[in-house]
């Protein structure tokens, strides 16, 4: 794996390896000294054409825990109308010998363009591109779901898949890179994915996705999902006639207290509620965000582990990369350096 651009082209073996390495990385985060020497002397550039403090600091923490040097490069304003082109920016970073570029960009496909071009040789990690994909978000969601699923099953999560799990994703799928990345990754990992949202916010062409689509959220909840992932809604979409009002949206597709209570009534004791953040409380999600079912803070925490795994596997040259075999997918990574201060249990 040279780049991490999308989850659609991620094999089950590669995805599981990322998640398994992330489990190892998460152990580092629990130590007093949260640092590995793995990427000492390597340079990671966070190239952000769009503001996203959450994603940027998550990547920054991940790179720093691996001892990489981190450069934050925020391109202000619209790159379309003014300022330096993506090509010139990339060539500048190349001249500064960046080893990895973590890119957030408002244009779908910008990371793929960077990776395919001869502008820069660095590993490219997509940190969210337009309405295309956000693969590390999906990986952290899968990581969170896998831990939950394994805990219910009473097994350690490393090496396991999401087989048998039913995940419901709700909201503005059309504009959501999180939804796209999750659809591909979760199904690759064996989960069944259900989508629910207003027909205006489900893309034309969704029929070819490996999902069941519902227009009615309650009908979707009746399918007894093991996890409900609420997508962020941009209230401005109302102005383009995607829905009549935020109140109507909230009533029909928001995860409100009534629907939270419904889970209890249905006896869905183990169903978790997820949100990629930042949340619009009172719009797509209510106090459900604070309930014991919520995984929202675990998602944030797991984000660092998953991003450490991605950086580590891309930059250290994964020996298992080229020919992933099935038997490897269930084995723990054995080429990780021993974390500083770690004791073997």
């Amino acid at each position: 794996m040279k780049h991490l651009l999308s989850t659609r082209d991620l094999s089950a073996a590669s995805a599981l390896r990322l998640l398994d390495v992330a489990e190892e990385m998460s152990a580092v985060g629990e130590r007093e000294i949260k640092k590995l020497p793995a990427l000492r002397g390597r340079t990671v550039v966070n190239l952000f054409f769009e503001d996203s403090t959450r994603t940027r600091i998550s990547f920054e923490a991940a790179a720093k825990r691996l001892s990489a040097d981190v450069i934050n490069f925020a391109v202000k304003g619209s790159s379309v109308s003014k300022g330096e082109s993506l090509k010139d920016t990339a060539q500048t970073l190349e001249a500064m010998s960046a080893d990895a570029v973590v890119i957030r960009h408002p244009a779908s496909g910008a990371p793929a363009r960077l990776a395919a071009s001869d502008w820069i040789d660095a590993a490219v990690i997509n940190a969210g591109d337009g309405t295309h994909e956000h693969p590390t978000q999906a990986l952290l969601d899968a990581f969170t779901l896998r831990r939950h699923w394994a805990r219910i099953g009473g097994t350690p999560s490393a090496g396991t898949t999401l087989a048998g799990m039913k995940v419901l994703i709700v909201g503005d799928v059309l504009h959501s890179r999180v939804a796209r990345s999750n659809v591909w990754l979760l199904t690759t990992l064996g989960a069944e994915v259900l989508l629910a949202g207003p027909p205006t916010l489900l893309p034309v062409g969704i029929g070819s996705w490996p999902c069941t689509v519902f227009y009615d959220l309650d009908e979707a909840i009746a399918q007894r999902p093991d996890a409900v992932m609420m997508l962020r809604l941009q209230a401005e979409r109302m102005n383009a006639a995607f829905f009549p009002s935020t109140r109507e949206y909230s009533r029909r597709w928001g995860f409100d207290d009534g629907r939270l209570a419904l889970l209890d009534i249905m006896g869905l004791d183990d169903t978790v509620i997820m949100h990629p953040g930042p949340m619009n409380r009172g719009l797509e999600i209510s106090a459900a965000a604070d309930s014991p079912r919520s995984t929202i803070l675990a998602q944030v925490r797991n984000g660092v582990s998953v991003r450490m795994a991605a950086l580590y596997l891309l930059l250290s040259g994964d020996p298992h990369d080229d020919e992933p075999r099935d038997d490897e997918t269930h084995s723990l990574p054995h080429d990780l350096p021993i974390p500083e201060g770690r004791t073997t249990r």
């Binding site: 379309v80 363009r113 395919a116 591109d129 295309h132 890179r177 034309v204 062409g205 070819s208």
Partner: protein, 456 residues
């Protein structure tokens, strides 16, 4: 109407054993801008100074006529000029091209169309026919001075806001009616603007995955449907530019069956490429209308074969590299096409058995000349006709290398593709603009001729 056969150069060409329209092998004698003889008598009539060309194995076709070329001059001479674009056209087998009006300034006055026309005459590689804008500045609000452009030295007959749709139904109706006064035609870029705000690619399975804003087929089809009904209502001539969807084909087929005077065009790229290519996010595949699905490609091929779609138009749209060396959303729409048109159409239509070479001549020369009212182009290859013709080696195979092209644009979506067919020679009014597959010399126009045109 410019008579390009006047003041022709004096070099005489005797073409031996050419397969006329892919059929009978015959000799052709070109003299004084015209075909002097065809068949067994040609060699006997040739003067001793005639240059003999052995055309064994080559197909003789009428010079191709493009109804849809972007030459970028005036305004974007870094992208293309009349000179470079018409060189590319000659190499591609064209003897006439229509320069679209979306230059800067827009070709919406007699002055601009005459300038483009003069530049074409000065270049001398092909007949450059300016297209006039329908509305002032392509603004879609007021009619441009269509009559002045029609009566100018450029004798404009094709009017188009190409790049922008004349979406106001009243304005479209008036334009269709008005150009009847001088036998003009409105060439519509069918794109409903509200349905395509921010559109980046065909809306469908691929756009859903890529997260690119969709350009739905219905945005084209709804305008085509409206326009054929308008054309019928006012009894006018309508030309639909770059038809890209199976649904548009159905509507045009229906309109023709009802007797509507509509013609339609398809680009070479829409006959070959699909939106699957967009998965690369390489903006070389970004074009307007966008690449569609394999079903659309098949429908367009069948429509071109059965005459529902009348002509091939290249929509040659060169762009400087910085407009393509960027993110998809930021990239310009458009592809070069003049130097690959013949090969792509041979590949998509002739080698699939959908068209023979006579059919190829019909869709690339005869009908486009008729739509543009170019009376001396797209003629039969018989004695007495103007000598606009090309010699094509259908057995040739070549790999597309945009860097080797005469156009300034390097944005060819066929880059690296091996294609059949090669233009070996182009004769523009009896003058060889291309020989042995390479540019020869432009046709010089006697200054007296231009002076005469001024005073006409």
């Amino acid at each position: 109407m410019t008579d390009t056969t006047q003041h022709a150069t004096s070099t005489e060409y005797l073409i031996r054993h050419a397969s006329i329209l892919g059929k009978t092998s015959a000799d052709l004698l070109l003299r004084d801008g015209r075909i002097a003889a065809v068949g067994d008598t040609a060699a006997a009539q040739a003067s001793p100074s005639a240059v003999t060309i052995d055309a064994t194995g080559l197909v003789a076709l009428p010079g191709m006529v493009d109804l849809h070329t972007h030459l970028r001059e005036p305004g974007r001479e870094d992208a293309e000029t009349v000179e470079t674009g018409s060189r590319a056209a000659a190499l591609g087998g064209f003897t006439a091209i229509h320069a679209m009006a979306n230059s800067s300034p827009v070709a919406d006055t007699a002055g601009v169309v005459e300038q483009v026309h003069s530049l074409g005459l000065a270049s001398g590689w092909v007949d450059v026919r300016p297209v006039g804008a329908v509305t002032v500045g392509l603004g879609g609000e007021r009619l441009a001075e269509l009559g002045a452009m029609a009566e100018s030295r450029a004798t404009v007959r094709v009017f188009s806001d190409d790049g922008v749709c004349v979406h106001d139904p009243v304005l479209m109706r008036r334009a269709l009616e008005y150009v009847k006064a001088f036998d003009g035609v409105i060439a519509q870029h069918a794109q409903e603007p509200r349905l395509t705000e921010g559109a980046q690619m065909n809306e469908g399975d691929v756009s859903a995955v890529l997260g690119l804003t969709g350009w739905p087929a219905v945005a084209e089809e709804s305008i085509v449907a409206r326009d054929v009904l308008l054309a019928q209502h006012v009894g006018s001539r309508l030309h639909v530019c770059h038809v890209s969807t199976a649904g548009s084909v159905e509507i045009i087929r229906w309109a023709k069956a009802r007797g509507v005077d509509v013609t339609a065009e398809v680009t070479p790229h829409h006959l070959l490429l699909t939106d699957e290519l967009v998965r690369s996010y390489d903006p070389v595949y970004k074009v307007n209308p966008p690449l569609r699905t394999a079903d659309d490609v098949q429908a367009l091929r069948e429509a071109l074969a059965d005459g529902t779609i009348d002509v091939v138009g290249t929509d040659h749209a060169p762009h400087p590299s910085e407009h393509k060396d960027c993110e998809w959303a930021q990239a310009a729409m458009g592809m070069t096409g003049l130097e690959t048109a013949l090969s792509v159409v041979q590949h998509a239509m002739v080698e699939t058995g959908l068209l023979d070479w006579e059919g190829f001549a019909r869709v690339t020369s005869v009908i486009p000349a008729r739509i543009g009212r170019l009376h001396d182009q797209g003629r039969e290859l018989v004695a007495g006709e103007p000598a606009h013709l090309i010699l094509v080696d259908p057995a040739a195979r070549w790999t597309v290398d945009p860097a080797a092209m005469a156009t300034k644009g390097r944005n060819s979506p066929f880059r690296g593709l091996e294609l059949p067919g090669s233009v070996r020679a182009t004769f523009y009014a009896g003058h060889a603009t291309v020989l042995d597959g390479a540019l020869a010399t432009p046709r010089q126009v006697a200054p007296a001729r231009e002076a005469a045109a001024w005073t006409r």
